[in-house]
C-alpha cells in the first residue's frame, strides 16, 4: 500500500492567476527516494508543501483533488497532526530556526509530537551526530554558518523519525562531501524521501525514481535510468555539462591577499595566512568544506572586511553578491532596487534586469518575486555596478540548471572587463563557469 498519494491534485495560491499544480497524480511507496526536478516556479516546492499538509492549510488558495499521507487526508488533518509521520526541511534554514541554541532547536519537534521526556535529549544528540554535527550541540544558532544551520534543520527533521521526509533543496548550502554524506544517510534511513534539488546529478545517484515538473504538471514520472534517457533527450542541461572550454585572458592583478588573517569579534581566526590573486579576465571558483572561511575570504577580497594581519590590495571598484537574496529587497520596485548601486540610473537598471531575464518584473515588489527570481534580482543589483572585481557568494542557490547555464554565459560575456571570484558548493556550476578553482581546507591553497 502506498505511503502517500496525490490524486488529481490541482492547487492555485490565493490571488494567483494560474495553478501552481495541475492535475497531479502520484503515489509514493514506503522507503522510496523520489527526486523532484523542474525549472524554478514549476511547482516543486508546492508539491512538497501539499504532502506536508501546508497546502492548503497554511497557505489557503483553491485546492482540488486529494492528498493522503499514511491514510490521513490532508484536507482534514492539519500539518501539526502530520508532523512525525512527515518531516520537512525547507530552502532557507535561517527561516526555520525557532530557538536560540542548537539542542533545544533539534528537540523542538520532538517535544511537539509528545516524545517521552527521557528520550528527547538522546534522540536530539543522535540526530545531530547522524548529520555529522554533534560538535554543534552546545552552540548558539546565531553563531552558525549557513551550512551548519542547514545541518541543524536536517537533524531536527530526522530526529522525528518520520515515514516521509520532504526535502526542499536540502544540500544547497552543504559542501560536496557533506551533501554526499547527507544523501547517503537519508537513503540509509529506509524511509520515503521526496527531494527537490537544483543540482540533479548528485540526487539522481541516490534516487529510485524521478518526477519532472513543468508549469505545475508532471511531465515525467519514471525510474532513474529511464528518467536519465528522457532528460538526455528533452532537458540535457539537467544532466550537467562537462566543462566550459573557455580560454581565459589574464590581465593585470586586481585583487591580492597576502598572508591574510581575520577573526570575528576577537575570536579565533576564521582565516589565517591566506594568499589569493585575482586577475582581470579570469573567473576563479572558491570551494571547500562548510566553516572553512570561504565567505570571509570573499568579503576580504571585496573590501567589505579589513584583515587583522597581512595585506589586502584592491585595484578598482569591487562589488559583492551576498548569499541571502532577501538582503536586496530595500526598495519598493525591482528596477529601483537595481538602480541603488548606480545612483538611481533607471536605464542601466532596466538593462541589467533584462540581462537576467527579469524584464517583465521591473515594477514588481522584490518581495513578491520567487526565490529564483530574487536571486537573479540580487545578481542584477550587483552586476549593474560593472565592478572591476566581482565577488559572488553562492550565486546558484534556488537557481535551476537552465538558469545556471545562462548565468555562466553572462559571467563569461563580461569577464574580460573584470576579475570574478565565485564562492560556491555547486560543482556543476564550477565546471561550466570557472577558469580555475581553489578548494579551501586541502593543504595550502591558492595561487
Amino acid at each position: 500500500m502506498a505511503l502517500a498519494r496525490a490524486d488529481r491534485l490541482t492547487f492555485t495560491y490565493p490571488d494567483a492567476g494560474t495553478p501552481a499544480l495541475r492535475d497531479v497524480s502520484l503515489e509514493i511507496e514506503p522507503g522510496e527516494v523520489v527526486a523532484v526536478l523542474g525549472p524554478s516556479g514549476s511547482g516543486k516546492s508546492t508539491l512538497l508543501r501539499a504532502f506536508a499538509g501546508l497546502v492548503p492549510h497554511f497557505h489557503g488558495g483553491r485546492f482540488e483533488g486529494r492528498v493522503e499521507i499514511a491514510g490521513l487526508d490532508t484536507r482534514s488533518a492539519r500539518p501539526a497532526e502530520l508532523a512525525g509521520t512527515v518531516a520537512s526541511v525547507f530552502q532557507d534554514p535561517e527561516e526555520q530556526i525557532v530557538l536560540s541554541r542548537v539542542i533545544p532547536e533539534v528537540a523542538f519537534g520532538l517535544e511537539n509530537i509528545g516524545t517521552p521526556p527521557a528520550d528527547i535529549l538522546r534522540r536530539a544528540h543522535e540526530a545531530l551526530a547522524s548529520v555529522g554535527s554533534e560538535h554543534l550541540a552546545d552552540r548558539a544558532v546565531a553563531e552558525l554558518s549557513g551550512g551548519e544551520l542547514q545541518r541543524v534543520c536536517l537533524a531536527s527533521a530526522v530526529a522525528l523519525r518520520p515515514k516521509l521526509l520532504l526535502l526542499d533543496e536540502p544540500t544547497s548550502q552543504l559542501d560536496p562531501g557533506g551533501a554526499d554524506a547527507f544523501l547517503e544517510y537519508v537513503v540509509g534511513l529506509g524511509i520515503a524521501v521526496l527531494i527537490s534539488d537544483h543540482r540533479p546529478r548528485r540526487v539522481l545517484e541516490h534516487a529510485d525514481r524521478v518526477l519532472f515538473l513543468d508549469a505545475g504538471r508532471v511531465l515525467l514520472d519514471a525510474a532513474v535510468p529511464a528518467a536519465e534517457d528522457w532528460l538526455g533527450h528533452n532537458r540535457p542541461v539537467w544532466l550537467g555539462a562537462s566543462g566550459n572550454g573557455r580560454v581565459p585572458t589574464q590581465g593585470e592583478p586586481l585583487c591580492r591577499l597576502e598572508g591574510v588573517q581575520f577573526a570575528y569579534r576577537g575570536g579565533l581566526p576564521v582565516v589565517d595566512g591566506v594568499d589569493l590573486e585575482l586577475r582581470r579576465g579570469e573567473i576563479v571558483a572558491l570551494g571547500g568544506a562548510n566553516g572553512t572561511g570561504k565567505t570571509t575570504i570573499a568579503k576580504l577580497a571585496a573590501g567589505l572586511l579589513a584583515p587583522d594581519a597581512g595585506t589586502a590590495e584592491l585595484r578598482g571598484r569591487a562589488a559583492m553578491l551576498l548569499q541571502d537574496p532577501s538582503r536586496y529587497c530595500i526598495r519598493e520596485r525591482a528596477d529601483e532596487e537595481v538602480a541603488v548601486g548606480v545612483r538611481g540610473d533607471r536605464r542601466r537598471a532596466l538593462a541589467a534586469l533584462a540581462e537576467l531575464g527579469l524584464s517583465g518584473m521591473a515594477s514588481r515588489h522584490p518581495r513578491d518575486l520567487s526565490t529564483g527570481e530574487r536571486e537573479r534580482l540580487a545578481l542584477a543589483s550587483v552586476l549593474v555596478t560593472d565592478p572591476d572585481v566581482l565577488v559572488l557568494d553562492e550565486p546558484t542557490r534556488g537557481v535551476d540548471p537552465q538558469r545556471k547555464a545562462a548565468l555562466a554565459e553572462l559571467l563569461h560575456d563580461g569577464s574580460e572587463r573584470r576579475a570574478t571570484l565565485v564562492v560556491t558548493h555547486d560543482e556543476e556550476f564550477v565546471r561550466i563557469v570557472a577558469d580555475r578553482s581553489i578548494t579551501l581546507g586541502r593543504e595550502s591553497l591558492l595561487v
Binding site: L54, E111, P117
Partner: protein, 228 residues
C-alpha cells in the same frame, strides 16, 4: 546560575532602581547593571548601550524644561509660547537625574537579559511561552537583518551613514520581520507546533545557589522599598 534566578535578580535590580528615592542608590544600581552588560561581546552590546544611554540622556535634558518644581532656580530663561517661562531649578535637575538613572537601569537590565541569558532555557520553564521566546529573539534578528542590509549596500558601493541613511532601512526591516514571521510560522506548524500532548526536555535541577540568588533579589527589592 539558572536563567530564572538570573531574571529574578535583573528584575529586582530594575525594580529597586524604580523604587529607590536616593540618586546615589539608583546610580549604583545602574553602574552594576552597566558592568554586567560589559560581559557581552562588544559588537552586540553596542546597540543596546547606545539606545539606553541616549534615551536616558534625552530624558535628563528634557525633564527640567517640562517639569515645574522647586524654588531654587539655577537658570531662568525666556518666556516661550505654550511652555511659559523656561527655567531650571535645583529640584528639577535632581528629579531629571533620578528619572534618567532609573530609565538607564531598566534599559540596562533588559540589555543584560537580551545579551547574556539563555532564553531557550528560561522560557522552557514557562512552557506556554514559546511565542515569548520568539519575541525575545526579535531584537537580535533585527540587528542581524540590519547588518545584512548595510553589508549588501556596501557590496554595491553604497555606504550607509547617519540617522537618515539608516532610517531608509526601517521599512525593509519591518517587511523582512513580517516575512520571516510567516515562514517561521509555517515551519513551526510543519514541526508539530500547536499539537496536543506536548512534552518537554527534562529541566536541570534548581540548586542552592539559585535559591540564594532569588533571596538576594527579594532583599534588593525590599531594600529599594525601605531604605534606598
Amino acid at each position: 546560575m539558572k536563567p530564572g534566578a538570573a531574571v529574578a535578580l535583573l528584575a529586582a535590580l530594575a525594580a529597586a532602581a524604580l523604587l529607590a528615592q536616593h540618586l546615589a542608590a539608583v546610580a549604583v544600581v545602574a553602574l552594576v547593571l552597566f558592568a554586567v552588560c560589559l560581559r557581552a561581546p562588544a559588537e552586540r552590546r553596542r546597540l543596546y548601550l547606545f539606545g539606553t544611554l541616549v534615551s536616558a540622556g534625552a530624558l535628563f535634558l528634557l525633564t527640567p524644561f517640562i517639569e515645574t518644581i522647586g524654588s531654587h532656580p539655577i537658570w531662568t530663561g525666556p518666556i516661550v509660547p505654550v511652555l511659559g517661562q523656561l527655567d531650571i531649578t535645583h529640584e528639577e535637575l535632581t528629579s531629571a537625574g533620578l528619572n534618567a538613572l532609573r530609565l538607564a537601569a531598566v534599559g540596562l537590565a533588559f540589555a543584560a537579559y537580551a545579551l547574556l541569558l539563555d532564553h531557550d532555557a528560561l522560557l522552557q520553564a514557562v512552557r506556554f511561552a514559546r511565542p515569548a521566546a520568539l519575541a525575545t529573539r526579535l531584537m537580535p534578528t533585527l540587528e542581524r537583518d540590519a547588518a545584512g542590509f548595510v553589508e549588501a549596500l556596501r557590496g554595491r558601493g553604497v555606504e550607509v551613514n547617519g540617522v537618515r541613511g539608516r532610517a531608509v532601512l526601517l521599512s525593509p526591516l519591518l517587511a523582512s520581520a513580517l516575512e520571516r514571521g510567516l515562514n517561521l510560522a509555517e515551519a513551526m506548524e510543519a514541526r508539530g507546533y500547536g499539537r496536543t500532548g506536548r512534552t518537554s526536555i527534562p529541566r536541570p535541577c534548581w540548586r542552592a545557589r539559585d535559591s540564594v540568588v532569588v533571596a538576594l533579589a527579594a532583599a534588593i527589592v525590599t531594600a529599594g522599598v525601605l531604605w534606598l
